[in-house]
């Protein structure tokens, strides 16, 4: 083999591309198949006669989801709720994580290194454990069944990781820039907003997208903290289609597509930023 380096190189390349294609197939095919399934009439779904391209295309399942005949089960409403909660979580997280990361990267104080480790350490506590205390805490402030309660809960879930991520971005920014701004008479908040955050914009986008993705998909808190159906986020609403006695596969699949598509639409345009931000910031 060593006598034919070109052949060897080509073989290696084919192997690498083969591995990547295999993984992409495993990653994407199930989701693609759900989309195809959601276009099939119920009769075909029940006989496992899902084909590509579909023999009969129907949008009935989507129409059923969008119409009000199910009372509170309004899918559009769920999507709006989820967007509202997710975007609020992203903004709040950036604000809190930005301040936290600034403090951790620019001020050395007793315990600052320990503190940044604890940022990741908090993730050791199981969600099933913190559900109860958070419920009790929010009940004290009358924040059960309110979007605000869910927003601050989700923010608490993602803020530590985002702080840790932003911190490495801030540390990469030379201090001379801040000193120059300070000479010009800017205070620390102005420095943070006008100097650090713009320079760390890949990190800020990464943190925001991360917060949005987690909040959009979060199920356990959403379903336990929100009582009334009209306030549900998409995961909480969608899961109710699954627990019914006879599963309406068509509606369930259409609902799944409607849950997956918005986050893909939001995520994909930023994906390159996110990747870069993550690859640069996650391990430094």
């Amino acid at each position: 083999m060593t006598r034919f380096p070109m052949i060897r190189k080509t073989l290696g390349r084919c192997l690498i591309i083969g591995i990547v294609l295999l993984f992409l197939f495993i990653a994407l095919f199930p989701l693609f198949w759900i989309f195809i399934g959601s276009l099939h009439p119920t009769a075909d779904l029940l006989q496992a006669r899902v084909t590509f391209p579909p023999a009969h295309i129907t949008l009935d399942h989507y129409q059923t989801l969008f119409h009000a005949q199910y009372g509170v089960k309004l899918f559009v409403r769920y999507i709006k709720n989820s967007l509202m909660v997710g975007l609020s979580v992203a903004c709040l997280t950036i604000a809190i994580a930005g301040l936290g990361a600034y403090g951790l990267s620019r001020y050395r104080f007793w315990g600052s290194e320990t503190m940044s480790r604890i940022m990741l350490f908090v993730y050791v506590f199981p969600q099933s454990l913190i559900l109860v205390p958070i419920y009790v805490l929010l009940a004290h402030f009358r924040l059960i069944d309110s979007h605000f309660g869910l927003i601050i809960t989700h923010t608490a879930l993602v803020a530590p990781f985002c702080t840790w991520l932003l911190r490495s971005f801030f540390e990469a920014i030379p201090r001379e820039l801040e000193e120059a701004a300070a000479v010009e008479g800017a205070n620390w908040l102005q420095i943070l907003i006008h100097v650090l955050l713009p320079l760390a914009s890949p990190g800020v986008v990464t943190a925001g997208i991360y917060a949005l993705v987690v909040s959009w998909g979060e199920y356990m808190f959403a379903v336990n903290l929100l009582m009334s159906g009209a306030k549900w986020t998409v995961p909480a609403g969608l899961a109710t289609y699954m627990t019914e006695q006879a599963i309406e596969w068509g509606q369930l699949l259409a609902g799944t597509v409607l849950t997956a598509v918005p986050i893909l639409i939001i995520f994909l345009p930023f994906a390159k930023y996110f990747l870069r931000g993550f690859l640069e910031g996650a391990l430094k």
Binding site: I16, I17, P30, Y123, V124, S128, L238, L275
Partner: protein, 251 residues
Amino acid sequence: MTRAGVNEYVGLFNYQKVLSSSLFYQAVVNSLRWTGLSLAIQLSVPLILALALNQRFWGNSLARVLMLVPWIMPTVVVAIMLRWLMEPNVGLINHLLLALSIIREPIDFLGRTQSAFLTLVCANSWQFLPFGTLLILAGLQTIPRDVLEAAWVDGAGVWQRFRYIIFPLLGPVIGFVFFLAFVWNFNTLGLIWLTTQGGPLNTTLTLPVLIYRRAFRGSAMGEAAAMGSLASVALMIVGVFYFKYLWKRPT
């Protein structure tokens, strides 16, 4: 544990109750099996994928973006996907296996004690792979290309480059992925709750599922809190161990 004495008596009672229930031990064993098996998959597969994605080829950046898709999917989507594809009567997997005559009768993957656990581990890993791959890829990118090229010029083969350059430099990153994956898997709740709820016959009943079931279905809040505290202490020990011995900030 540091609370005032009023809670002490009840606290001990709850711990006693938990420690004498066989279901608790079963959940602990299930959790360890769940975490161990998941870690084996979630450390090895992302390593292979990250090594492949670290090479230059046409479409690389597109592949990286598309690879992330399972990770941004909500747990509910993964649960529905799994239930639909694995369903005995309408699911694709059974349909394919029957058509290829690999099996004679449809298998209820999530309903049988022999297969539910493994099916869920695979689905769970399916979702974690992008995140692990991304982290390892980030680690690979910190390895300077000229070091690898110099080794290549000196005649180091693929395996030698991996064994003596990449692997040692990647150590801290793999440790980091290990820690995150450990915590993430040990605490998996949503996916199991939305598919099997711990069944069939408690084969997928991990500790978080048992805690959740006790707290929200059995309204045995005290027991749930006792189990949660025990789980937290165990995880804290892993965390302290990690930060004390494995944590290295690559510079």
